[in-house]
């Protein structure tokens, strides 16, 4: 399976990634293995947003943590600009971290309550640019806060003085401090109020337009994924069952699981939604043990070969 874009050299290239966890049996002997992610391959192009959707437990976050080497894969390769991340020394990986960043779901847990937000946003400079003068660092931090739509004078304040949406902006400011080319955003809007979500999504889009950042956007919000992502991978039981341009995936879903997922999204229109509910004989699930390799059914549209249960 090699769903590779023909037109552009990928920024990130993931091949046959698996993540297994040994399950210890209760008497302490060798147990079986839990396969959180199995044989997943995808590319992300420069300036592209790839959406990763699937239900809880499907392996979305595991993939996000594996491609950033926060929790390295059990098998398979993650290549960033052609460099196999698993082969890097600790020092080389530290330098690489400047280019690969993460934004998490919970901006409350991510921030250190005892650190002013200016110090928090400045931390990457302290770690990666120890020679940077204090005044320059302060200017950079103020510029970053302004860039994410916060008052630069807030640098002196502490996390408890900010709302959830503002905290996520602070996390994003820190993530872009070292001008990364790739950010894994793991459910970045799931903990935010509806009226705040659009602010954060627009900010992510603006940063991509200006800085050319690529995103792996992990989300269970299928509406927002369609909006933000050029391409989408659907994960089910730790495997990719469909990978396509967003338009193709949403307009012509091929895998029964993708169809099931999309047919379950509520529509904010009473007439349409009531009709959808009446028709909602949920499609039967496919058999997860029968997920095969990806087959290209149309240009760039990959679907797992699956026997229907």
């Amino acid at each position: 399976m090699k769903p590779e874009p023909a037109d552009r050299y990928p920024l990130l290239s993931v091949r046959n990634l698996s993540k297994h966890y040994p399950l210890r049996s209760w008497w302490g002997g060798k147990g079986s293995v839990f396969r959180a992610v199995q044989d997943v391959s995808f590319d992300i192009r420069p300036g592209e947003t790839l959406g990763l959707v699937g239900e809880s437990g499907s392996g979305k976050s595991t993939i996000g943590r594996a491609v950033t080497m926060l929790n390295p894969p059990s098998a398979g390769t993650v290549a960033f600009e052609g460099t196999d991340l698993a082969k890097l020394s600790a020092g080389e990986m530290r330098r690489m971290r400047a280019r690969i960043q993460m934004v998490f779901q919970d901006p409350y847990a991510a921030l250190n309550p005892r650190m002013s937000i200016g110090d928090y946003v400045a931390e990457p400079f302290r770690l990666h640019r120890p020679g940077m003068a204090r005044a320059e660092r302060r200017d950079e931090v103020e510029g970053l806060l302004a860039r994410v739509g916060l008052d630069p004078r807030f640098a002196q304040r502490y996390p408890h003085q900010f709302s959830g949406g503002q905290r996520q902006r602070i996390c994003i400011a820190r993530a872009i401090a070292l001008k990364p080319s790739f950010i894994v955003a793991d459910e970045p809007i799931a903990a935010l109020d509806v009226s705040i979500q659009a602010q954060v999504v627009n900010l992510l889009q603006d940063l991509q337009d200006e800085l050319g950042i690529s995103y792996l956007f992990i989300s269970h919000d299928l509406r927002m994924v369609r909006y933000l992502c050029q391409r989408v991978a659907v994960l089910w039981h730790g495997r990719v069952v469909e990978l396509a341009e967003a338009d193709a995936l949403y307009e012509d879903p091929r895998h029964p699981y993708t169809r099931r997922l999309l047919s379950a999204v509520p529509v904010p229109n009473p007439v349409e939604e009531r009709a959808r509910l009446r028709a909602a004989a949920l499609l039967p699930p496919a058999d997860p043990d029968a997920i095969g390799g990806l087959v290209e059914v149309a240009p760039g549209h990959w679907v797992a070969d699956t026997r229907y249960s």
Binding site: E55, S56, S163, G164, G165, Q166, D193, V194, S195, I196, Q197, A198, Q199, V201, N202, Q205, H220, L222, R223, M224, R226, Y227, Q230, A246, D247, Y250, E251, R260, L261, S263, A264, V265, P266, V267, P268, N269, P270, V271, E272, E273, R274, R276, L277, A280, L282
Partner: protein, 342 residues
Amino acid sequence: MGQDREILLDVRDLAVAFDSEGGAVHAVNGVSYTLAEGETLGIVGESGSGKSVHVLAMLGLIPRPPGRITGGQVLFQGRDLLGLPERELRKIRGGQIGFVFQDPMSSLNPGMTVAAQIIEPLRIHLGLDGRAARARAKDLLDLVRIPNAGARLDQYPHEFSGGQRQRVMIAIGLSCRPKLLIADEATTALDVTVQAEIIALVQELKREIGMAIVWITHDLGVVAGIADTVQVMYAGRILERGPVDDIFRDPRSAYTLGLLRSLPDLSRGRAGRRRLHQIEGAPPDMRHPPPGDPFAARNIYATARCLTEAPPLAQAPGAAPGHLVAAWYDLPAHLAAEEAAR
């Protein structure tokens, strides 16, 4: 809906505050509405809107202190729930009023079998003996489509999946054939396909039992499908309320409009993509609620009066009967002017 039916629930000017170190948090500020028998009310709002706190308060479930009910009445079948002693309230709660909350893991007792937890309200409220209650518990698990219900009765909550636990909570909520079911973000933590199954189930049970429902959520899509009436709450107040089709077709509050516009369209491809509409700013600090319309600071249509004087919830001019809005500004006029300028 509702005019020709009996009023089941009549909330009058309910106000709730929580004492905190930084001063009292005014969580609910004069909420009034009625619910008819058999009606489904969808309440939409974000955190701090008062949507959850006000139902917890009416059920006597807010911790006191720090919570305080600072005013109002909640008439359920004519009786004021706020004046009832806890002993009386307990008879209604879980009996005539069933409820389902967001997190089934913390609502279920992990140390008790599912059977014991379903049977408890049946014995208290319906006075069933052990054998009858157990038979009814099995029927209830069948009703919420838990496969192999008889065998699973004696299992513990952790042996059920998240979706199944929420089904168990719904079984408990429905166990005494309530007149009213209150569901607070009951499907929010669930996957979208499980949510769809739960909603279909609740709709079916409603047809069978004929109960009224208060369905609290932040998801306008869910509300669109199940509600007869929609109520939009913000900063402890109702900003808009009315028949579901009218609220979506002809919103009169700038907040409702902002919420509707900020949702990306699932059927819109990349070619037709526009920047997402965003509501600027953040909800007010409820330790110091603004004196006027609580949404005014974020509302581009706000007038000077919005900043100083809270608008009453009243019939929206020219809208469907029962479509109420709390606004000093005229949203349709602004939208028409924008349309004309384009």
